[in-house]
Amino acid sequence: MSRQLLVPLLDQVRFKREQLKDRLPTLPGTPLLFLSPFFLLFGVFLAIPVFYTFYLSFFTFQGVSTEALFAIDIGAYQIMIPEMANLQYVGLDNYRRLLTDSVFYQSLLNTAIIFVVQVPLMVALALGLALVLNAAYTRYKGIFRSLLLLPVSANTVAYSAVFIVIAAEGGIADIALGAVGISPIDWLSDGFWARNLVAFMSVWRWTGYNMIIILAGLQTISPSLYEAAEIGGATKIQKFRHITLPQLKPIMLFVFVTTTIGVFKKFAEPMIVISSGGPINETRTIVYYIWQVAFQNLELGYGSALTVALVAIIMTLSLIQFKVS
């Protein structure tokens, strides 16, 4: 859901503007009644966990608790809310551990490398496809657009499995590379290539999605800008550099921010590569590591500290991207 960032920001501006002029009905209770199911779930399953993650990061988890957090005894009825877990306060220990955890740094590095391989390739492909689909000469635009968008609907785990079969020893990838005279690549045992495989898989799945967004951006550029440039005798490349790219800037920013968040949340692809025997050290992403720490080692406190660190990293990167542009 965090792939969507621009709207709320724009919406907020509109919201302020609206408050000044609009007079909407104020019926006591009614709007709250409409909002209550959403906010009940929002409060319990989103707001509380956000704060509880932060809280947990200062504790170690010692198992599920049976003790009462608070109990009321009113005659025939007893209300007991149990404690969430048996916790022991450790202060900043989890964060100290994190700073010297080489696996944490390695998984951060892996995530960053996947980002560096995936994003330029994907954005270049999406931009190129959008440009061709936006050109006047292109026929059958609808069909190409549909086909290229299809991967977005592919189940993440199922498509990862398909890529494993393609990349496995003796699979289609070997044959295809052999046909153009490249010797087979050990996609699933060589760390470098296994990590790239994760990046390439993601390119397959998300190129169409970003293409649609860039295409919509291209269609908002006023044709009069191009006409003026043509009168001035500009070449195609000049038009692209001096009109298309600057006009696309907000859209490209959106694509970069959402992709950054997407890459730092990556779990399904590395999980499938690792469970089919891939090299864990080079393909373990940060979310995979959090899952391992929290649900295989049951170190929920340390897992929470890692989560807090990851959220801080994602927020910082998004802010930097906003600032840079």
């Binding site: 859901m1 929002f42 290229l148 299809l150 859209i251």
Partner: protein, 283 residues
């Protein structure tokens, strides 16, 4: 002049070449999962002595599908049913809650509206599926773990959804609502007799997005569900963590997870694109 035309033809040729080449590469995995699901395992990979994998469909689909059903560690067909039930119930509930909430935010004024609004705004910046650790404790405490509700409820308050509905509903003219009030409609009748029917395409767009979101959830179901309640992604990951992966069965499972969604997706694509763009490229 002649030179200019020639140059233009070259651009077009290059553009088409690029488009067709990328489309073909992108389509290949989809083609391959369908073909591989009909082959015996030996034909999916190259054999010794330069024997190539088969690139055309075989006749092993039913045999593979039966072998998949007979797997001891995971009941794949049960997981398809689980995924379907969870995604359908989830989509219905989330659609209801998001549209009700969106209506309140779009068409009423009330105290703390701005505060509530900012609260949702804040979580949009967070990668919320990272909340699995506290959610796990919370859901276990409520006695919900290993149930459909454990996967449905936590994401039913989908922050993007309430934004999307609010924005769409702002386009409903206030005069229309006033007229209905004059006719004696209650506020709830207003919502389901006037507002919902005029929001059909926005509801469809959000429905496609919600359904896909739930259909693709992996980390959270993996953490909270046990065998019998597995969804498709979890079931496939269990097949893959077996020491001896049966690739032919795996391809049947993957094809069943991917192909039906493609058909649905092609039919509803217009709504999906509206959903993406309604969330991304307005103004």
């Amino acid at each position: 002049m002649h030179e200019k035309l020639e140059k233009e033809a070259l651009w077009q040729f290059g553009g088409y070449g690029f488009l067709v080449a990328v489309t073909m590469v992108m389509m290949f995995p989809i083609y391959w999962v369908v073909v591989a699901s009909t082959l015996p395992q030996s034909a999916i990979f190259a054999g010794g002595a330069g024997e190539l994998p088969r690139l055309i469909p075989g006749s092993n689909f039913l045999a593979n599908a039966e072998a998949l059903a007979a797997r001891p560690e995971v009941d794949f067909y049960r997981s398809m049913l689980n995924s379907l039930v969870i995604a359908v119930v989830y989509t219905g509930l989330a659609l209801l809650f998001c549209s009700m909430g969106g209506f309140a935010l779009a068409k009423y004024d009330f105290k703390y509206k701005r505060t509530l609004f900012m609260g949702i705004l804040g979580t949009l910046l967070l990668p919320t599926n990272l909340l699995v650790i506290p959610l796990f404790l919370l859901v276990s405490n409520m006695g919900l773990s290993n149930s459909y509700w454990a996967v449905i409820l936590p994401w039913a308050a989908y922050p993007l959804g309430i934004f999307f509905m609010k924005q769409a509903m702002q386009s409903i003219p206030d005069s229309l609502l006033e007229a209905a009030r004059m006719d004696g409609a209650s506020e709830f009748q207003l919502y389901y007799r006037v507002v919902l029917p005029s929001m059909k395409s926005s509801l469809a767009a959000l429905a496609v997005i919600l359904f896909l979101f739930q259909w693709n959830l992996f980390l959270w179901p993996l953490v909270v569900l046990r065998e019998g309640k597995y969804t498709i992604p979890v079931a496939i990951s269990k097949i893959m963590s077996n020491d001896m992966i049966a690739y032919d069965q795996l391809m049947v499972a993957s094809a069943m997870a991917i192909v039906p969604m493609f058909v649905v997706f092609i039919l509803l694509q217009r709504h999906f694109v509206n959903g993406i763009l309604g969330g991304a490229v307005k103004e």
